[in-house]
Symmetry: C2
Subunit: 244 residues, 2 copies
């Protein structure tokens, strides 16, 4: 509710690593801290390899903008891990729930009058849509939806990072009170490589999100993202400020 869509910022922080000439391997973990709302103005993202080992590389990133007095201000901090993966024994213990296909699910967008980024996603809700009436009725905090870029584009680490932040605020779902919110920190763990993401093409991604705690101004969110074929692509967690 301050600045641009957090998901696009997360994607930009990761993309700075992805484009870095010294990058080793592919993203495994990303944490983005939203320290201040970005202004609609130029920004600089610096990605620095803090430590490069044989098969892993730890990154620190920062996004800065010029303040009113011209001084550089830190708006976003972030860290990431990239790694050259080897093929190992693998297993998924979070199976995709049995849900209707995207083509059998109605596209019913969120209200987007003042939030243009919502139009950049094709969202097809299966459960837990945004409350239709803001009457304070308590509900669960679960949302399940198919989602895809609009216009469609092939899935990659940047777009998957952005998708990880698509879910509307869990506290709105939980209690049907439209309190101001803002994500303060977000982590994405990638459970697929570039080849697996490329194989998804511009398919939909299934997202399932819920909160576990709302405590004195901050709630958490955990979510899983699966490919249409049912592969767990990423798990993601965030902590979000809420006003009341």
């Amino acid at each position: 509710m301050v600045g641009p869509y957090g998901g696009i910022t997360a994607a930009q922080m990761l993309q700075a690593v992805w484009l870095h000439p010294d990058r080793l391997g592919e993203p495994v973990a990303l944490t983005v801290n939203f320290a201040a709302g970005l202004r609609d103005a130029p920004f600089v993202v610096e990605a620095r390899p803090a430590r490069t080992n044989r098969s892993t590389q730890h990154w620190t990133m920062a996004l800065t903008q010029s303040g009113e007095d011209g001084a550089s201000e830190t708006m976003i901090t972030a860290t990431a891990l990239t790694a050259a993966r080897r093929v190992t024994w693998s297993a998924t213990d979070a199976p995709m729930p049995a849900v209707p296909r995207p083509s059998d699910t109605e596209r019913r967008p969120l209200p987007s009058r003042q939030v243009p980024w919502l139009e950049r996603y094709d969202m097809r809700f299966i459960a837990g849509h945004i409350p239709q009436t803001w009457d304070g009725a308590e509900a669960d905090s679960v949302t399940c939806l198919w989602m895809r870029d609009d216009p469609p584009r092939p899935l990659d680490f940047a777009s998957l990072s952005a998708l990880a932040d698509v879910f509307f605020p869990r506290v709105w779902r939980r209690r049907a009170v439209m309190t101001p919110i803002g994500t303060v920190s977000m982590t994405v763990y990638f459970h697929a490589g570039a080849a697996e993401l490329a194989a998804c093409g511009d398919d939909f991604v299934l997202g399932l999100a819920r909160a576990q705690s709302f405590f004195n101004g901050y709630f958490d969110q955990s979510a899983e993202l699966w490919s249409e074929a049912g592969q767990l692509l990423a798990t993601t967690h965030q902590i979000v400020y809420y006003k009341e």
Copy 2:
């Protein structure tokens, strides 16, 4: 399996923030990236407030040691959010499971011949103990246990951060193969304030952990930590390298 217990390093990274004279409020989020195995040698932790707002403060931290050539090497990177919380509507959606009390649960420690830190915790397993035979038999990845510092000490943000890393590697539980592992990134979200932690005294904490994905060398872990009274104190997530 390289360097000291990761939980104590996580606690030390947070403690550097906690002790900083410019700190605003209490910890809400902590992410620690294990870039290299610490040597049994002096280290320096630098904590820097990257951005201070009215009620929140974003921190970046780094732990360095002197390399063989005397140059400073980054071993750990970390970020944290501290905040001055206000009392708001609050709710917990992750209720503590119904389990026997600590006093009714047998203390059966992990094998600790070469891992002294295990003796610094009183662990009382309810479900998902470490495999007794390493026969490759697949199982679920769930562990539930009561845990407490040994000797007991009052709970605080540092000790809770350390407890968040107590769980033995999920991949050992999942497939009873003792493959080498190493946590590469760990996040803790705090759902209690200093007053709530202090009220726990030296009570046990219930931990419940499971993995969701094992993919080409990295698996995740998500866990919840509750007070004996059933309050959700923290949720925590990590991603862990495994060799095969």
